[in-house]
């Protein structure tokens, strides 16, 4: 083989790998739409149980992502800006839910927050019920989606030019003001990516929700649970609902990314 041929070989291999990956990852998504007629899509939206599931999914994921952002962003800032003993351990513990099977997450949540769980008695005294309640769905969603935002936000904050943060301090701004006025705007694209990732994860959440909160229409049955519920009896209905979920997820992710690009483009320069 001549040197030139050898040189062309590797790029060709790269493109072949890309073609395989693209085909494999896109085909199932494409199939959902190819197997669903527009009429079925509209029909499925007209079905009250589908509308309930969709509404519940949007509300529960919105609340969950809001909690993740409000608590997770300061945590990510702390981890990105401070060095302390055991920091690596803390980071690893926070990332653990990433690799946890959803069923394990569900069992864990039950053992911790269920009626017989560690904090079950305390929650009961406070009059808080999570299991088989919408609040339980939110808890499950926060648990599985938080690490995505934490990871992305932490690396986004770590990538902010340190001299910007120091300049802000010498210009009279304390840490809180520096965080709000410099760090967050500068890290916005990364933060938005974190929101998009955790929101996507929350929208698709299935196992932990099923085990911890159950699958009751209008209370805990989010779209993925509704799809599973129908799949045995009404495959076409499940397919149509899947298509709706794909569209909603894609629209959410796209709008978050576009929003961040408009606000954050200059921050990257």
């Amino acid at each position: 083989m001549t040197a030139r041929l050898r040189g062309a070989c590797f790029p060709a291999l790269l493109f072949a790998a890309l073609a395989v990956a693209l085909a494999f990852l896109v085909l199932p998504v494409l199939a959902i739409f190819l197997e669903t007629s527009p009429a079925q899509l509209v029909d499925s939206l007209g079905d009250p149980s589908s509308r309930d599931a969709l509404r519940l999914s949007v509300i529960a994921t919105t609340i969950a992502v809001a909690i993740v952002v409000l608590v997770g962003t300061p945590v990510a800032w702390l981890l990105a800006t401070r060095r302390f003993r055991g920091r690596e351990l803390v980071v690893t513990l926070l990332e653990l839910p990433l690799v946890l099977p959803p069923a394990v997450a569900g069992i864990g949540l039950l053992a911790a927050l269920g009626p017989q769980g560690i904090l079950g008695g305390l929650l009961d005294q406070l009059g808080i019920r999570l299991v088989l309640e919408t609040a339980g769905v939110v808890v499950a969603l926060v648990f599985v989606s938080a690490p995505f935002h934490l990871r992305a936000a932490q690396s986004a904050f770590a990538a902010v030019d340190r001299s910007w943060l120091e300049a802000s301090r010498t210009l009279g701004a304390g840490e809180a003001r520096t965080f709000a006025r410099v760090a967050v705007p500068a890290a916005l694209p990364g933060l938005a990516a974190g929101v998009a990732l955790s929101w996507g994860r929350a929208l698709g959440e299935f196992g932990a929700t099923l085990m911890f909160a159950g699958s009751f229409r209008d209370i805990t049955q989010t779209v993925p649970l509704a799809i599973y519920d129908r799949f045995a009896t009404d495959f076409d209905g499940a397919l149509a609902l899947s298509a709706v979920l794909v569209v909603v997820s894609a629209a959410l992710l796209l709008s978050v990314k576009l929003l961040a690009r408009d606000h954050g483009a200059d921050a990257l320069r």
Binding site: W164, S168, R169, T170, L171, G174
Partner: protein, 358 residues
């Protein structure tokens, strides 16, 4: 008056520095990279906490490790010009300048920011983003920002090093004018002696974590305290060993150079020494020129290694065989037909020769 006295470790370096900068004066802290210059500046600003020390400015104590007192950077009120200027990329130019102006309504903040930008001749850029500015423009915006909140001291970290050669000269002249107008202490850090000399009222040379000499640039160049300072000020430094000890008065010291040749100096010295001579003290003569009729007592055969134009002068690199530099006019280069390989005599006075322990 800004006074700083601090001791801290930077990697393997033990930094121990004491400095005083009177109000309205500029002290240039100069030294090679890795000498700990920026750490001193950061400690003064409060961005890094030294192991021990005291920093005070205008009667207020900013740091006193013995008393456990350390003001955070936001309460010290230092104007800090960062080496890469550190302009906030997500804010427009005027908002960058107005960042330090708090408690004022928006209209007034903008007005004050525009005033400052006007002073630096960049008011037209007020609504642009820093990303679209040239290096010189950024530097002026960063200076305006550092001065906006009327700082109690101004700290400049390599203020000219991020600029290209063309804009550097102009920026340096503007900076000199600005420093003359300011009535706060200014501490400046640079690795370039020429820059330190043109910007600082005094130059403090930092080497190995300590200030080895402090004084006016002229005094440092004329009387370097060590071979390092001599080298840093731009002098050529030759190494050798004292062959004949002078007394520092009448009798000259004779130094046998490593690699051959002898140099005479009015300075006293003994043992291994560094001999420093500034390029502008060295004249060149044809290899066969007679020594008679010259007051210069140093006359060494040398070979031209390089000929480089520097502004209106020409810098001639020589091999004694130790490297030596002479600065001559273009005319002389033509007259002596100087080119790499030409044999010449390098001539300078014993009085222009500094001898320091090596």
């Amino acid at each position: 008056m800004l006074s700083a006295e601090l001791r801290t470790r930077v990697g393997a370096l033990e930094l121990e520095v004491a400095l005083e900068v009177p109000a309205g004066a500029c002290v240039a802290l100069a030294g090679p990279s890795g000498a700990g210059k920026t750490t001193v500046l950061r400690a003064v600003a409060g961005l890094v906490r030294p192991d021990a020390g005291r920093i005070a400015c205008g009667g207020e104590t900013w740091l006193d490790t013995a008393a456990g007192r350390s003001l955070p950077p936001e309460r010290r009120g230092c104007g800090y010009l960062f080496q890469d200027y550190a302009l906030f990329g997500h804010l427009s130019v005027w908002r960058n300048v107005a960042y330090g102006l708090r408690g004022l309504p928006r209209a007034q903040r903008r007005e004050r920011a525009l005033e400052l930008l006007e002073r630096f001749g960049v008011a037209a850029l007020a609504d642009r983003r820093p990303g679209s500015l040239s290096g010189g423009e950024r530097q002026r915006v960063a200076l305006a920002r550092a001065l906006a909140a009327r700082p109690r001291a101004l700290l400049l970290d390599e203020p000219l090093s991020a600029l290209d050669a063309r804009s550097r000269g102009r920026a340096a002249r503007e900076l000199v004018r600005l420093l003359r107008e300011l009535d706060v202490p200014v501490l400046l850090v640079t690795h370039d002696f020429a820059e330190a000399a043109s910007l600082g009222d005094e130059v403090a040379v930092l080497d190995g974590g300590r200030i080895v000499q402090q004084g006016t640039a002229a005094a440092l160049a004329a009387r370097p305290a060590s071979g390092f300072v001599a080298d840093f000020t731009g002098a050529a430094v030759l190494t050798g060993r004292v062959a004949v000890r002078g007394d520092g008065e009448g009798a000259l010291t004779v130094v046998a150079l490593d690699g051959g040749g002898e140099v005479r100096s009015t300075d006293a010295g003994e043992g291994p020494v560094a001999v420093a001579v500034h390029p502008w003290e060295v004249t060149l003569e044809p290899a066969a020129a007679p020594a008679s009729g010259s007051s210069a007592s140093n006359r060494l055969a040398a070979e031209v290694v390089s000929v480089t134009e520097v502004g209106n002068r020409v810098r001639v690199g020589l091999a004694l065989p130790q490297p030596l530099t002479a600065e001559v006019t273009r005319d002389s280069v033509r007259r002596l037909a100087l080119a790499p390989g030409t044999r010449v005599q390098a001539v300078w006075k014993a009085a222009a020769t500094r001898v320091t322990p090596h």
